[in-house]
């Protein structure tokens, strides 16, 4: 059951010259979606508070000195927004170049398409450009942390922390280019507060966090999403009734996700629902 919201005033905003009417309190991204504009996003999560860290969704707001992140900036009546101006496109292009040159985006959905669309050339910084390349951390049987693919979107930290799981096993440590996701003193997950709910994997936008099953299959070259089916069912463990989406390849469950629009769990599961399918 979805609780009814109190009625909200509607405001008119101009998106690329087109008037769009959205409820007060909506973000520019909401308005763009209502207007059918495709604004790229990476750190935005539909179940999380926008962190606006990646800056790939920046748009030009008339009267604003700098570009505004569409994912978090709230609309105001009469706002004039340009989503595809030269200035916005330029920043998106360079942001994609900066990310593409420092992070492995090979498993980031849509990244390759955006790099092409915006004419980004991640290779222009040369072969000596600093990267976050490092070996993947495999310290448990359930999921793998490959931080060479991490764009520091903060979503895993938010999902692990006070926005969903309240386990606080991981946080951002270090500063600047050296900042990274870490447990205390970089301890292995098995010594940390991790409860293996996998909700961080659910929100990871780049594949830096992946299920061990997927990681192993990708390494073996057998991961093939075109041969997978997705079946949404209900978890059989307890009475909460979380939705599970079973990803099946060759008649075997290869990973479990959960629909983000589920009103009870919003895509979150516990260790049993997420990983306890060995009995099937």
């Amino acid at each position: 059951m979805i609780p009814l919201q109190p009625p909200r005033r509607l405001v008119d905003v101009q998106i690329d010259g087109e008037t769009v009417r959205v409820p007060e309190g909506s973000t520019i991204l909401d308005a763009c979606q209502a207007a059918g504009k495709d604004v790229p996003t990476l750190c935005y999560g539909d179940t999380l508070t926008p962190k606006n860290a990646c800056r790939v969704c920046v748009v030009e707001v008339e009267g604003s000195r700098t570009l505004a992140p569409a994912c978090s900036r709230k609309v105001e009546a009469g706002m004039t927004v340009g989503t595809d101006t030269e200035r916005a496109r330029h920043s998106r292009k360079v942001v994609l170049e900066l990310l593409g040159s420092s992070v492995d985006l090979s498993t980031t959905p849509r990244a390759a398409g955006w790099i092409e669309e915006y004419g980004a050339e991640p290779g222009r910084f040369g072969d000596d450009a600093a990267t976050v390349e490092q070996p993947a951390k495999v310290d448990n049987e359930l999921y793998v942390r490959d931080y060479s693919k991490c764009i520091m979107c903060y979503k895993c930290v938010d999902a692990c922390g006070d926005q969903w799981q309240n386990s606080f096993a991981i946080a951002v440590a270090g500063r600047g280019f050296d900042s990274h996701i870490s447990t205390e003193f970089d301890a292995p997950l098995t010594d940390s507060a991790c409860v293996y709910c996998g909700n961080c994997v659910e929100v990871c936008p780049t594949g830096a966090l992946s299920f061990k099953s997927e990681f192993d299959m990708r390494a073996a070259g057998t991961w093939d999403e075109s041969r997978q089916t997705q079946t949404t069912t209900i978890c059989s463990y307890c009475g909460v009734g979380c939705n599970l989406t079973l990803h099946v390849q060759d008649n075997k469950i290869v990973k479990v996700s959960s629909p983000h629009d589920n009103p009870v769990t919003k895509g979150n599961l516990c260790v049993k629902g997420r990983f306890g399918y060995g009995y099937v």
Binding site: T66, V94, L98, F125, A173, R175, G176, F177
Partner: protein
């Protein structure tokens, strides 16, 4: 909060350091010894996340570094997740999570010191103490630019001590504490040594520096101290705000926002409590004006904060002083304690029924914490990452409450406004920039230091006082986030520098003569921003790295494609970064390329 700890044990010394700050643990549930009885009930300590940084300081001050056991104990005492506390501790450059000697030398390698031979000192120190990272480390600007090249030794212990070296040669730094030939332990020149104009007539903000004992409340009151606060009580809060509005005072931290409007907006907020934050995290390379005020006239800041709190309805103020300013911290603590004991701070100030107190917080080595919202996160015990605006601090600031945040110099300007009235104040300076301004002159000049001049004086007039040595090549206005200028007739006002494509910023005037290698200075600026970026947003986190890489390539071989790359990355940092750090990280480099033709 159900937290999992790894049960690393603190040493007795670490435990004592934390307990000295927080008091002994009330129960076994918050880090004390567990008793049989306690296992029969669960107790939860009040979360006190905002004491995280002070607790980390306590251990770092006592032992020199923070071990797993110490971090675990702090987390139990404050109910903070260990992973988050680790993230906070690893954010600050003065804190160490690895064992290191008790005494660590922080050697300034920043702009003003670079212009005065810091590179040679660095080599000598390296030869004596070995590679950086253990007993010494290179440091961003220490705010000792008038004594460049400078160094600061911090020694952990039961009574932690500090020692300032300036100018440092490089050979004296290994001499054990207390017998360094500079005088007794901890001796350093008085604050007025940084003020060539000290004692002259006509000074407004610097009038007491070198004239009045900074420790004496009576001396302060005898020279007009606390007259402004009495006047404020006569005017009432709305009257004070009206005076500040009419005076035309704008913020001196760099952004030049009208102070009266900020106060007015905060005072009007229906949400309570309101907080006052004094931003004394002065870290812009080449800036040391706030240090001189805090060391030389600490009561002025205490009085000014009291007035600001009265006007905006704050019962509590935080004074966030950068960690590299030990003497300023000592003097302010003394001034606050004396004022408190004399009824000038605390409950019922001057019998007027107004209560206000100040809590001093020390930074721990992070330039970004001088950003007006990062400072809130730092005080609250989170990583000092800027928040995205809106909402602005006047609406949701410290602890999510309406907050007025002002720089030290801005606040002390309120005293002359109230003493002499807004009109008298606004009569000095220009229409767009009223009053006087402190300028931090350093680099290749014979008389470096803080100068106070009315707005409207030209750069040439300022340099006539400071006497450039050698042949002048360029002046960096506004610090690392500022711009190079060569026109000495630029008027030193907010509007004048803006028209010249520069900025007053925090008042930095770094003079470079023709012996200074500009490419080296630009590399240092790029390195500074790369080091000090918080890492939150992509344009700044990766852009500052790419900028430094390109400048390294350019200093060897000029290539048009690298210049284009710098421009594109720079434009993106300016357009798409979250905060002012990333937005200004390319200013100085751009102006050096365009105006000085560095890579021609």
């Amino acid at each position: 909060m159900d937290l999992r700890f790894r049960d690393a044990q603190p040493s007795a010394e670490e435990r004592a350091a934390v307990d000295a700050l927080l008091g002994p643990p009330a129960t076994g549930w918050e880090g004390g010894a567990r008793t049989e009885a306690e296992l029969r009930y669960a107790a939860r300590p009040e979360p006190a996340r905002d004491l995280l940084l002070p607790a980390l300081h306590a251990v770092n001050d006592r032992v020199g570094w923070i071990s797993e056991g110490a971090l675990d104990y702090i987390c139990r005492r404050l109910t903070v997740p260990p992973a988050e506390a680790y993230g906070v501790a690893s954010f600050y450059s003065l804190l160490s999570l690895k064992p290191r000697p008790a005494r660590v030398l922080h050697l300034c390698t920043d702009l003003a010191c670079q212009a005065r031979g810091a590179e040679d000192v660095r080599k000598r120190v390296e030869a004596r103490l070995g590679p950086a990272g253990s007993s010494w480390q290179p440091s961003p600007c220490l705010g000792l630019c008038e004594r460049a090249p400078a160094a600061l030794a911090i020694e952990a212990g039961e009574t932690p001590s500090t020692q300032v070296y300036g100018p440092v040669q490089g050979d004296e730094v290994t001499v054990p504490h207390g017998s360094n030939g500079h005088g007794p332990a901890g001796w350093e020149p008085p604050a007025e040594a940084a003020v060539p104009q000290a004692g002259r007539d006509g000074l407004v903000l610097l009038k007491r520096i070198g004239v009045v004992d900074p420790a004496g409340l009576d001396a302060y009151r005898a020279t007009g101290g606390y007259a402004a606060l009495r006047r404020a009580f006569q005017l009432g809060p709305a009257g004070v705000i009206r005076e500040v509005l009419e005076s035309g005072l704008v913020g001196r931290g760099g952004a030049a926002f009208p102070t009266g409007r900020k106060w007015d907006a905060t005072a009007r907020q229906p949400d309570h409590p309101h907080y006052l934050v004094c931003n004394a995290d002065e870290s812009e390379p080449g800036t040391f004006k706030d240090r001189v005020i805090m060391e030389g006239d600490p009561y002025a800041l205490v009085e000014a904060m009291t007035i600001a709190a009265y006007a905006t309805g704050c019962a509590k103020g935080y004074l966030y002083v950068r960690g590299e300013y030990p003497r300023a911290v000592r003097r302010l603590e003394h001034a606050m304690a004396t004022a408190r004991s004399r009824g000038l701070l605390g409950a019922d100030i001057l019998g007027q029924g107004f209560s206000f107190d100040i809590e001093l917080r020390r930074g721990a080595g992070a330039y970004i914490c001088g950003e007006e919202t990062a400072i809130f996160n730092s005080i609250e015990g989170f990583r000092g990452e800027p928040r995205s605006k809106p909402p602005f601090p006047v609406e949701k600031g410290l602890f999510g409450k309406p907050t007025v945040v002002n720089n030290v110099e801005t606040l002390v300007n309120v005293l002359p406004i109230l003493e002499h009235g807004a009109q008298a104040y606004a009569a000095v300076g220009t229409e767009g920039s009223t009053g006087t301004k402190l300028f931090c002159v350093s680099g290749s000049v014979d008389r470096p230091g803080i100068y106070e001049l009315p707005f409207g004086a030209t750069l040439r007039e300022l340099l006539d006082l400071a006497r450039p040595a050698g042949t002048l090549k360029a002046v960096l206005l506004g610090g690392a986030a500022g711009a190079f200028v060569t026109d000495l007739d630029v008027p030193l006002t907010f509007e004048g520098t803006r028209a010249a494509g520069a900025t007053l910023g925090s008042g930095v005037v770094l003079v470079l003569d023709d012996t200074v290698d500009l490419k080296h200075i630009l590399l240092r600026i790029a390195e500074f921003f790369r080091d000090e970026s918080c890492g939150q947003c992509v344009p700044c986190r990766v852009g500052t790295v790419r900028q430094e890489e390109a400048l390294h390539r350019l200093s060897e071989r000029v290539d048009e494609s690298d210049l284009l790359l710098l421009r594109e990355v720079g434009r993106t940092m300016r357009d798409a970064s979250i905060c002012g750090l990333g937005q200004t990280a390319w200013n100085a480099v751009e102006s050096a390329i365009d105006r000085l033709g560095v890579y021609k």
